[in-house]
Symmetry: C2
Subunit: 445 residues, 2 copies
């Protein structure tokens, strides 16, 4: 079977009862982490502007805007929640492709599930299969597709959202192939946008356009049935590499969600090892900024490529600055969302230390590693090599750590008691009778 047909078949064939326990568990962790990020950023200016733009003209209040009181039609709700879930750049990562898997799929599926009163097990199944479709398409085109400049979470995410929603809507196989085709022809998102509100916009668009693809296919809108593999289809037009076997091999027996990872720090994952090393050295030696002459980082090439902003002017830009993040790690011991506020980026003490951080590519170093060297004014040099940063596949965040992250993100947005109930509900996602009750818990009443 060709790629498009295989994925359409899989999306309708995948059964909750047959999913490995580990996969079901990881889906719960993925959902909790995603939901915390979406609730957490629900008052961010990006979310406010996005909401203001559509609320004047959005339709029925079919679905929840997470963390808020407003309701929107389900397409716009999926869009809003997709944007807020990625705004902090604190969501999950499929390390093999740098896809943030949950954003497009969960945002689309939750809006639809709320409207359809979907059961928890069907929702978990849709989440797993949507992420599978998304990540396998990513695997097929990575790294060429990413290297040329596509924001792969947007471009691959739209397929995952379409597959998950198509399954919840009960499409037949032909309509599912069409839904994937309608998704393919909306696939978009440029890496040039990193550091602007458009990065999270891509995630919202993938959720919205994927959901919309499934809704159109349900009504009989036609497309190509070979959208992935055709000579002028997604694979060949958006990438110089398209390895169809990455899509079909082991489909339905291995699950990409098993390889999902979660961020302890609210910024680009490639700079996590630098943050961890700098924070650890500062802690061990109880360093203060005025002791430090300079900080030298030996890093993977992607660090400078993705997060090399020398003088960030906003919190959003700070997320793409290994210099700012490292300075925060030393000054505050971490780099959570608070450390990427505009005011922190512009604080004189932070800026002064930021200027003393230097980064160079270290030959042969891996993406989850960093070589951190702090030279003190006293002349002594402190050194730490980070082998495997927390949040990597080898050092995953524990359930308790994920829950703490979730609580921290929701605090101040939702009432404390509601946060507790929401967290409990997330761990019981697969057992819920109606996703609508979860959506209600995740909004202001």
């Amino acid at each position: 079977m060709s790629a498009t047909a295989a994925l359409a078949h899989f999306a309708l064939d995948c059964q909750y009862d047959k999913l490995p326990a580990r996969t079901v568990k990881e889906a719960h962790r993925t959902f909790l982490n995603w939901l915390g990020c979406a609730v957490g950023a629900s008052r961010h200016p990006s979310t406010e502007i996005a909401l203001r733009t559509v609320s004047a003209r959005a339709g029925l209040g079919e679905a929840a805007v997470l963390g808020r009181r407003e309701r929107l039609d389900l397409v716009n709700a999926a869009w809003l929640n997709g944007i807020s879930s990625h705004t902090f750049d604190f969501d999950d990562t499929h390390l093999k492709t740098i896809i943030h898997p949950a954003g497009p799929v969960a945002s689309a599926a939750l809006a639809l599930a709320e409207k359809l009163h979907t059961r928890g097990e069907d929702f978990v199944n849709a989440l797993v299969l949507g992420i599978e479709v998304e990540c396998r398409i990513g695997n097929a085109v990575y790294p060429d597709h990413y290297d040329v400049g596509w924001h792969i979470t947007g471009t691959a995410g739209v397929f995952g959202a379409a597959a998950a929603c198509g399954r919840l809507l009960g499409l037949d196989e032909k309509a599912m192939r069409y839904a994937l085709g309608i998704a393919a022809t909306q696939s978009s998102g440029l890496r040039e946008m990193f550091g602007s509100m458009c990065k999270a916009f891509h995630v919202g668009n993938a959720a919205k356009n994927g959901l919309f693809s499934a809704l159109l296919a349900e009504q009989g809108f036609t497309s190509s049935e070979r959208a992935l593999e055709a000579p002028r289809g997604f694979g060949h037009v958006l990438s110089t590499k398209f390895d169809e076997a990455e899509i079909t091999r082991g489909l339905g027996s291995t699950y990409e969600i098993d390889r999902n990872t979660y961020k302890p720090y609210a910024c680009g994952i490639v700079i996590h090892p630098s943050i961890e090393g700098a924070a650890e050295l500062a802690r061990r030696h109880a360093l203060s900024a005025d002791q430090i002459e300079r900080v030298d980082l030996g890093v993977h090439p992607l660090v400078l490529e993705l997060c090399g902003k020398r003088s960030p002017a906003t919190g959003l830009e700070g997320k793409f600055s290994v210099y700012h993040a490292t300075a925060c790690a030393i000054l505050y011991g971490t780099a959570g969302e608070r450390e990427f506020a505009d005011a922190v980026v512009k604080a004189p003490g932070v800026m002064a230390l930021c200027r003393r951080v230097h980064a160079e590519v270290s030959p042969g170093i891996l993406e989850h590693q960093a070589d951190v060297r702090i030279t003190l004014k006293s002349g002594s040099v402190l050194h730490l090599f980070v082998e495997k940063a927390k949040g990597s596949l080898e050092q995953p965040m524990s359930d308790a750590e994920l829950e703490t992250k979730f609580r921290t993100l929701c605090r101040g947005v939702l009432p404390e008691t509601q946060v507790e109930r929401l967290s409990e509900a997330c761990w019981k996602l697969g057992k819920m009778d109606d996703l609508g009750s979860l959506a209600a818990l995740a909004t202001l009443q």
Copy 2:
């Protein structure tokens, strides 16, 4: 100035009063032709399905759905009208890039103009500048971008819609650059979709997403300010060729809309010369199908590449079949929208003649030419070389021919007297006080 900044500056600098008379005139012809196509396809299954999908959840009735009674929020109205305007594949063509210029720009601008009660001269100005932005971006990346598989009307059209709407909304230059950036990162549409409902979907998406880009920028949503020319921006990611001079050279002194062309036949423009030649030979010799042994076409390579469907099964596929279109030209003397109905494609007489049509690439032949040879059962051979097909730049459709085409398209959709008033209004577009009155004339009351 770089491409993005130059286009943003131009979009705010362009003045109706300073446009050449010829350009203003061509804008009126472009609008009339576009409106006829949109009204004509307003009951087509593609439009019906699209409307059904959004009408359940669309918001306020801010803007007209052309040719119908329904009203939608302006983003969905732009989308619907974009789809219907391209559904017959009967709209305009910028021959240098094969962009269909009006669809994305006019669909977006009219929906917004209706809501804003825009004056005619501001609307015409927005139409001209939007098409300028769209076609210049097309010029910069054509042919590589098109050859690899992008549907350039979708990918370039979104910029034109953003620029036109940004101007109508009164964005400042920075917001206009953001609007172009937000558009860039939504740029999409694959040629693999040709022959399915997704082809017209691309035009609707370009209109919708371009308009939405301008609305987001108006509210303060941020983007890159170098979306076109940056290393990971539109030009380099979506094309191997990006000639920035095509964007900046002569900007504001020459107008691409001057080179717009209109189709006498309701299908891919590359097969028009074949249709014209076959129809002319059939007319001259009063041919009937049973006299004909075979038809041999010598054509430009794009004919087989774009319109080589050997056995079309639907009307939509028929538009991409030089065989079907040529058979119709012989049997019916033309290839209007009627000849691309499903029933005509499946008619035994049409299918039988279609099978006797053969096409081969003729070395050195130009896109607006065809070599038509009809071999009769009697043994005699009729031959005609079409030098310049009607509808080409050298043989443009006259105002009267455009008006006849418009009336034919609107007939049966809108009442006759309304069609007359609408046609008059189109010729006076630049003098109108409020575009809302035109939108009202183009809908069922």
